[in-house]
């Protein structure tokens, strides 16, 4: 506690200290606080473990790539030195498999805070000259039962369990005083009731949030230190700050809800039932309704029909055969700068057919993407019905685990894929042979992190939304505070 000043401490300090002493005498707050701390710890550990698993998987992928390319390089070196016994893959094979490298999406410095959607999608893709469905349709290995249940990460503890603790501490903040008979006494003092109430709430919220803030900071700083990322990096701190602000706003919203229920003048038992009902409503029923509504009105486009369409298009291209090749060459005169297509250049033919397929698939993919975007837009609008869903998405965004960052990665994959295809297509049509120089000139994928402004653009509205709701709710409750009476309804 604070040291006693020679003069009488200001009133608010007195209030806070008094409340703290009362609360500290009870067993339940300590018990609940400890349980929450343990759960937060477990969530933090799980998130950290997952981020480490991903980093290791990415590390292994990159090592394998480097080894494969080094072996290829030494083969080419032997061939260049005149050794005709070594088998050098033709350039088409280099672009399709042998010289490919993985494009990777490493977890952000705050990746340990949430697993989010990152267990559904692999954080690497082996980009080749082939069509993009060949590397984008790979699923990460994960027990489907775990995917269904979801992960026990910090975001889960904050969204689902923190409100339970908050409600347990605040459900009787007014009704408890009334039932003890102390409300009448309090109302006769010169202290405004609002100030009294805010002091009571402040102490309780601090108790509930203290552990959350500590564990979050500990995890974030610990991961930053272990990963060797610079602790001075502004972006990480901005993320941590944003995360904490979001959690704070969410906690404030639940507290305002408890306050709003309390000023209605019911007994503690009714308050408890109402608040549990609210928790169920916002965390289970509304999300379920939104999920059911969104997937009925904007069902996810089908990858099954996509698969059939792809086969149909590739069959049609194969059927067109020579005509498809001729058409491709007519459309891409730049491919034949060196004269005619060499006899027996089967890779050039493969590419022409593949490109014809891709062309036929373009509208199909466009329709798929726009259906997906429509679904995402509608989900983004309807989630406003539950602050819990808003917070969950925002926390995933801050941790770099949301769909936004993945789409950002996908766009870069697209650009890289096109560059890779361009690089090889020209050389395949020119019938070049593979050499070490070519290996050195391969396009390289470097993931550019999403600008902070993008993340802020998605998360700040969520924060503002939570704060606005809190403001409205607590404004209403404080206005009604004047009508609080020592007699129960």
């Amino acid at each position: 506690m604070t040291s006693t000043a020679p003069s009488a401490p200001p009133e608010w300090r007195l209030l806070l200290r008094h409340e703290w002493r009362l609360l500290a005498r009870e067993r339940l707050p300590w018990l609940l606080g400890t349980v929450l701390l343990l759960l937060l710890g477990y969530g933090a550990w799980n998130g950290w473990h997952w981020a480490r698993f991903q980093r290791q998987a990415i590390g292994r992928v990159l090592t394998d790539d480097a080894e494969r390319l080094a072996a290829l390089d030494s083969t080419l070196r032997l061939r260049a030195a005149g050794d005709s016994t070594v088998r050098v893959p033709v350039i088409g094979v280099l672009g399709a498999t042998a010289a490919t490298r993985h494009a990777t999406l490493p977890p952000t410095a705050l990746g340990a805070l949430a697993v989010g959607t990152s267990d559904l999608r692999p954080s690497y893709a082996r980009v080749s000259t082939r069509s993009k469905d060949t590397f984008l349709s790979v699923d990460e290995i994960e027990n489907p039962h775990h995917l269904l249940a979801g992960r026990f990460d910090l975001a889960f503890v904050v969204v689902y369990l923190l409100p339970l603790l908050l409600l347990a501490l605040t459900f009787n903040v007014v009704s408890g005083e009334r039932e003890q008979g102390t409300l009448a006494l309090l109302l006769t003092t010169s202290t405004p009731p609002a100030r009294l109430l805010l002091a009571k709430l402040a102490v309780r919220v601090t108790l509930a949030l203290g552990g959350t803030v500590l564990i979050t900071l500990g995890l974030a700083v610990g991961v930053l230190a272990v990963d060797g990322s610079p602790l001075t990096e502004l972006r990480s701190w901005a993320g941590i700050g944003l995360w904490l602000l979001l959690v704070l706003a969410y906690a404030a919203w639940w507290t305002a809800l408890a306050l709003a229920v309390n000023v209605r003048g019911y007994g503690s038992a009714t308050n408890a039932m109402l608040l549990i009902g609210a928790w169920l409503l916002f965390l289970v029923i509304i999300p379920a309704g939104v999920a059911a509504g969104v997937s009925t009105v904007h069902p996810a486009p089908s990858r099954v029909t996509l698969t059939t369409a792809l086969r149909e298009a590739s069959d049609a291209a194969a059927q067109a055969g020579d005509q498809a090749v001729a058409q491709y060459l007519a459309d891409h005169p730049e491919m034949l700068r060196t004269g005619g297509l060499a006899e027996g250049n089967s890779w050039a033919r493969t590419i022409a057919l593949q490109e014809r397929t891709a062309q036929a698939m373009r509208p199909v993919y466009a329709a798929f993407d726009s259906a997906l975007a429509a679904q995402e837009r509608s989900a983004a609008a309807w989630r406003l019905l539950s602050p819990a869903v808003v917070l969950m998405d925002a926390l995933h965004d801050v941790a770099g685990r949301g769909v936004g960052r993945y789409r950002h990665f996908e766009r870069q994959l697209d650009v890289h894929h096109q560059a890779w295809q361009q690089f090889f297509f020209q050389r395949i049509f020119a019938n070049q042979t593979a050499d070490r120089e070519l290996l050195g000139a391969l396009p390289v994928f470097r993931y550019l992190e999403e600008p902070l402004s993008e993340v802020l653009g998605r998360t700040l509205p969520a924060l503002a939304f939570l704060l606005a709701l809190t403001g409205l709710l607590s404004g209403w409750a404080l206005r009604r505070l004047g009508s609080v009476t020592p007699i129960s309804r």
């Binding site: 790979v138 995917l147 289970v284 999300p287 996810a300």
Partner: protein
């Protein structure tokens, strides 16, 4: 009907049914169930039709691929799609989280891909909804709300003293309360169950009655368990508030926290490889053999020796058949042992992880119920594994057939030879039959044990519940 048990049950039923809150909650529950059944039916039916249509389209592509070298046909391959079980409208289980299709081609067993969940917004994952989820989460909540004041409430109202003064034995009182609440639940859930049955009958035309019966028994047992435990807690708690707090905490822990917490624990204790690592291991072991001492060139020499000995000739040129086909089939069979090993151990990993979660049912029987429900509905990972095995068996048969055709109709080196366009229909279409439910319950032994054990213990405790203190 004059027995005191019935009288108490009737009083409990009438009193609860008069309560506006109970009526509202029950109505809401029935409405939610109805929506879940109808939406489930509509969704599952459209997925089913889509899969059937795609499967048929793939067969047509295969049959009409024209004159082709059989090995090219093997590379052309086909996709197969997982059928949707009729009961998925009740419990879609992991169906959104497993791939729905796999590509069957020469040389390689591909994993399933295209998980529907990848294209769903995050809220769907946060609160995936089905009739099963309502039965697992909300019905127990309703039971708790009905049962928590059974004894503690009577005491607070002062009526417990009168009841006991009448000389009503504790067991009669308990049985009456339990029956009354059970009757109310039957009134609430009965129509919903009928609606579900109608949705099921209308959607598939065929109903697998052992599965439906199994589901009814599982959920019946679970609701009975929740009811017994709630009454025990109510009788043993000092105040109704305390009873409610205990029961709600238990609810939150079993339905919210443990499924996630156990999943993460299982993942840690039985880790699975990353997709890339899995593929790399496959490639490595196909090249060098599972033991790492069986390189491809050594294997090829052995195949050559065997073929020459079999046909009694001394050189490949004098073989009456296509040796390339023999060699390819041998390498298929070698690769198949590698696939069996690695895919087998991956699915065994999943099974070990799930067994751990099921065993945690000792603390939270809901975990056992979830597992049983998916198994009975045919939407768990074991069902997926069964389908994956059938698809892989079909792939191996198909590839072996193309190799045999090439072997018997050509001589070595005939890569440019084309089989007539009519041969492809000779290989039968993929026809998958869902296994009988008994076969799928093997890995559910623990879940059954846990649920049965809980029920017995709860029943014993229930019968031995002491008369509550009056103060």
């Amino acid at each position: 009907m004059a027995s005191p048990v019935w009288r108490i049950a009737r009083k409990e039923l009438v009193e609860q049914a008069r309560d506006g809150r109970v009526r509202l909650t029950s109505l809401l529950l029935v409405a939610l169930l109805a929506v879940a059944f109808l939406a489930g039916r509509q969704q599952q039916q459209s997925i089913r039709q889509e899969h059937q249509a795609a499967q048929q389209a793939m067969r047509n592509f295969w049959v009409n691929q024209g004159a082709k070298n059989p090995h090219s046909a093997a590379h052309y391959g086909l996709w197969v799609f997982k059928p949707v079980p009729p009961l998925a409208l009740f419990d879609a289980g992991v169906n959104a989280y497993t791939g729905v299709t796999t590509y069957l081609e020469a040389h390689r067993q591909n994993d399933f891909s295209r998980r529907p969940a990848m294209d769903q917004p995050s809220v769907v994952r946060m609160a995936g909804w089905s009739a099963a989820a309502i039965l697992q989460l909300l019905v127990p909540l309703l039971i708790i709300l009905l049962a928590f004041p059974a004894f503690a409430g009577e005491r607070e109202a002062g009526t417990l003293r009168q009841l006991l003064a009448l000389g009503v034995p504790m067991r009669t009182l308990l049985a009456g309360k339990a029956l009354g609440i059970a009757a109310l639940l039957t009134l609430v859930l009965g129509p919903a169950t009928l609606l579900g049955a109608a949705a099921l009958a209308g959607s598939s035309g065929q109903t697998d009655s052992p599965r439906v019966l199994g589901l009814a028994l599982t959920y019946g047992a679970y609701f009975a368990l929740v009811l017994l435990v709630s009454l025990i807690v109510s009788a043993r708690s000092g105040t109704s508030r305390r009873a409610l707090l205990v029961l709600l905490s238990a609810w939150a822990i079993t339905s919210l926290m443990l499924p996630r917490a156990m999943g993460d624990l299982a993942r840690w204790l039985h880790p699975t490889p990353s997709a890339e690592q899995f593929q790399a291991t496959l490639t490595r072991d196909i090249a060098n053999g599972l033991d790492g001492h069986d390189p491809a060139d050594v294997r090829a020499k052995a195949v050559e020796r065997r073929a020459l000995a079999h046909y009694g000739v001394t050189s490949l040129d004098s073989l009456p058949v296509n040796f390339d086909a023999i060699r390819m089939q041998a390498s298929e069979e070698h690769a198949n042992t590698v696939f069996d090993h690695h895919f087998g151990s991956l699915y065994d990993r999943y099974r070990a992880q799930n067994a751990l979660v099921q065993a945690a049912g000792i603390w939270a029987p809901l975990l056992a119920v979830r597992s049983l429900s998916m198994a009975l509905a045919g939407s768990d990972i074991e069902q997926h594994r069964h389908f994956a095995a059938a698809a892989e068996a079909y792939r191996r048969g198909l590839i072996a057939w193309t190799n045999a055709y090439l072997r018997d109709h050509t001589r070595t080196g005939a890569w440019d030879w084309k089989a007539p366009p009519s041969v492809w229909r000779d290989y039968p279409p993929f026809d998958y039959a869902v296994p009988p439910v008994g076969q799928m319950l093997g890995p559910q032994r623990r879940a059954l044990l846990v649920l049965g054990g809980w029920l017995i213990v709860a029943l014993l405790l229930f019968l031995r519940t002491p008369t509550p203190r009056l103060e």
